[in-house]
Each structure stands twice: as C-alpha cells, then as structure tokens.
Amino acid sequence: MSPLLVVENLRVAYPARAGGIIEAVRGVGFTLRRERLGIVCESGSGQSQTGRAVMGLTAPQARVTADRLAFAGIDLARAPPRQRRALRGGRIAMILQDPKYSLDPVMTIGRQIVETLRTHQPVSRAAARRRALDMLAAVQIDDPERVFGLYPHEVSGGMGQRAMIAMMLVAGPELLIADEPTSALDVTVQLEVLNMRERGMGLIFISHDLRLVSSFCDRVLVMYAGRVVEEIASGDLTHARHPYTRGLLECLPRIGDDRHPLPVLDRRPEWAA
C-alpha cells in the first residue's frame, strides 16, 4: 500500500525581528500509512508547526520548504491554494488545541458542522443536518438535538472539544491531525471518540504526554528543538535510547512509586545540534 503522507526534510523558518531567521522545524521527515503516528515533544519543539505545514496553515511570513511533502500522491508543496483549500477540512482535517478559540463564537455548533460538510460535499440541507446530528451522537454527546442549537460558549470545554472532533470527522477525512487534543481534560473520552471514528484513516497525534501517546499510537516520533531525535515503536518505549526520551519518561510521577524529589530533565545543548 502506498503511503498516505510523505514528508522529507521539512523546514519551517520565521523571520526574526532582529534580522536573521528562526527555524522552528529543521528537517523533519516521516511517512504515514493508515496508522496512528504519535509525535511527542514539549512546547516549542516545532510539533504544531509540523502539523500546520501539512495542513497548509503556516503563517504567511514563514518560509516552508521540503524535499517532499506529498499527500496521497498530491504534491502539497506545489499545489495551488485552491486545491489545498479543497483538501483542508475535506480529506485532511486537524483538531486544534483549544475549542474555546477554534470554534466560531457567533455560530451555533450545528451550523458549523453543517457548513464544513456542505463545503466539501454536495449534500442537501436536510441530509447535512441529519449527518451532523449522527456525528454529534457518535462523539458521545447525549442530546445531539440540544447541542446542535447551542453556541460554543454555552457548552463545557470537554463538550466543545467533542463538537470540534465531530466537525473534523463529518466530511470523512483520510488524514486527521490532532494537535494536543487532550489538553482540555477528559482524556479517555476523547481517545475513545477518536478510536471509534477512525475507520482506517491516518492519524497524527501530537501530545506532550509520552505515556498516553505510546498507549494509543503504533509508532512514536520524539521531537526536540525542531528535529526528530528518535523514532520508536510504541511497544519498545522502555528501550528508548535517546536521553531526552528517557528523561521524559522518568520525570512523570507514577502511582505507587516513591521518588522524592522527581528526577528532572537535564537538557544538553548537543541534543539541539
């Protein structure tokens, strides 16, 4: 089977205020099949910029270069904006960090889901509404009819996150990028939701929680300072070789172990080299 997404030597650079450039992503490469790939890293390692570059959502002042950036045989780096717009939300979808800021505050949740669907597929209003309601039910919202008519500020953070997931899944994307989808708590519910709706899509799951990612994904990339420092099958996590990966695992408090103080990460400059 041909890979769904191929990324080779991806670089994202921003012009710095004082002149010069800041490289947020420095030569990231991976291939994704219809599988779950985890990207683990801490804030500022370039994980979100990687996801955004695939989506085509990088800020205009940034320079994105890649030896190859291809989705299902389409060369994203050379695709015209119109084609990228058609892919975005349709065949590639992204769940953003915070539903508070990423849902439209003056539009009901139902209308936002219907809008996404009708932008990408020729369906009637009534059919779109039905599918939106089904989707809300599928992400375990108890009363889809009620939530359909609510505005984002009228629902809790967890509910907003689920509505966001429903909106991203309604058009049936082949690739889903989830950028820290669990920071709005209730981790298990959301994982169950993602798990259930997966239906053979490719998933890129970005999170700082190494244990969560490794239990959910097939493979894990560990990023540090804009580079991939280690790639590891999630079953092999205990055999992680890079000191950064090991440090990340070590510093988590575990139930039933008595380590006071907790080991902290000793960041070495050579990791970023």
Partner: protein, 250 residues
C-alpha cells in the same frame, strides 16, 4: 488539635445549577490533601468556595477552627490561606512586571521590607534576580507558575490551595514545579490542598485524597491504598484504570 481546614456539608449553587452538594472534608495541619475527579466534578469549585470565589448556599467552612460564612474574607484570612491557579498565562497581570506582581500582596497587607522579601521570594522559587523586571510574556509557562507560587508564598501563609498547578506545563517542567512545591512545604510546614485530574501527580504529592463526581465526594482514601489498588468504589477504580493510559479493545 483543630483541623487546618474543615468543610462541613458545603453546598454551592450557581443559579439553579448545584456545583457542590453536601461536601465535607477535613484537612489536618501540615497535611497534603488531594481532590481528584473529572472536569466538572466540582473540585476546583471547592477550592474557590474556601477563598470566597463561589456562592455558598449551605454548610460551613472553618480555617483553624474559625468559621467563615458567605463570600467575604478578611485580610487576616488571606495571610493564612493563599491559592495558586491552574493557568499561569491567565493568573498573572500581563502588564505588570514580576516586581510589581510580588509587591501587590505586600502593599495590600501593609507589610514592609518589600525589597528584601521580593528577593527572597524569587530566590525561593528558583528564579534569579534577573527575573524581577520581566513581564509575564517574557517568561515560559514554568517560570510564570513559579512567579505565581512566589506571589502566594510571599505572605507566608499556612495553607496553600493548589488548583491543577502543573496541568498547563510540560512533563519535565511539571517535575520541577512539583519538586519545588514539596521543598517549600517541607521548609515551611505548609498545609496543601491540591486539585488534579492526574492520579499520578496526586499520589506523588498527597497523603490522603478524595475522589469527586457530580459535585459530591465519592470516596476518601489514602494515597498508599490507591497505590496498592485497594479501592472499593467503582468510580475510583475507573479513574485508576484511565490513569494507566489508553487501553486498546481486544
């Protein structure tokens, strides 16, 4: 000995929504006490009710045996009880320098020797004097949370209420902040009441904890019991399972 904090049959309601019903907890002096539950279970509301940020409809709160009713709290109360909030991005004034942020509580309480106290407070949370004149946006999340902790400690309180103090932080920074909190607790003999959704964090930091759901206390247990899995309540067991990460079906 009187309890450091005693909450009796507390009820909190926002209009017709009951956020807390009939909640009772007792926290001994010098103890570290945890509150665990999913989002919306009322654990943060309980802390907010203690400091007068939530409308109490029934029951009572006593700090050091002294009963506090309603939402008004005296200045003397805040010398004893301080709170650290979840989001270090939201809990620091964006247009005040660290120096100004730390001066505020001293000015409110009419405490002199501000200069020396600010230096000491920053030193205690592991930030050098170079941080004094920075603004919040010039610091990382972990550094901001250290400032929030310094601001709470500068009044030399006896009880520190911690509302998810590390959930907005990266894993490695979380370890540093947890170590810092344990250190100051040891040095000052503080009492902690800590809210977290992460059972790993709570069992690491606390001796006893309660699990909460739908505004009620579900179960009270010791961290040691939780570690050995000696949990009787079905909901606590569910939380414990969830904390082990995602489990694949089949």
């Amino acid at each position: 000995m009187t309890d450091a904090l005693r909450v009796d049959r507390l009820g909190v309601a926002f209009d017709h929504f009951h956020a807390l019903r009939d909640v009772s907890i007792r926290v001994a002096r010098g103890e570290s006490f945890g509150l665990v539950g999913e989002s919306g279970s009322g654990k943060s509301t309980l802390l907010r009710a203690v400091v007068g940020l939530a409308p109490i409809t029934s029951g009572s709160i006593a700090v050091d045996g002294e009963v506090r009713a309603g939402q008004r709290r005296s200045r003397a109360f805040f010398r004893k009880v301080q709170m650290v909030f979840q989001d270090p991005y939201g809990s620091l004034h964006p247009r005040q320098t660290v120096d100004r942020l730390l001066l505020e509580p001293l000015a409110v309480h009419g405490i002199d020797g501000a200069e020396a106290r600010i230096r000491r407070a920053l030193d205690e949370v592991g930030l050098g004097p170079s941080f004094r004149f920075r603004y919040p946006h010039q610091m990382s999340g972990g550094q901001r949370q250290r400032v929030a902790i310094a601001r709470a400690l500068i009044l030399e309180p006896e009880i520190l209420l911690l509302d998810e103090p590390t959930s907005a932080l990266d894993a490695s920074v979380q370890a540093e902040v947890l170590n810092l909190l344990e250190q100051v607790r040891r040095d000052r003999g503080l009492t902690f009441v800590m809210v977290s959704h992460d059972l790993g964090v709570v069992t690491h930091m606390c001796e006893r904890l309660v699990t909460m759901r739908h505004g009620r206390v579900v179960e009270m247990l010791t961290a040691a019991a939780l570690a050995t899995g000696a949990v009787s309540n079905a909901y606590t067991q569910e939380l414990l399972r969830a904390s082990k990460g995602f489990v694949r079906a089949g």
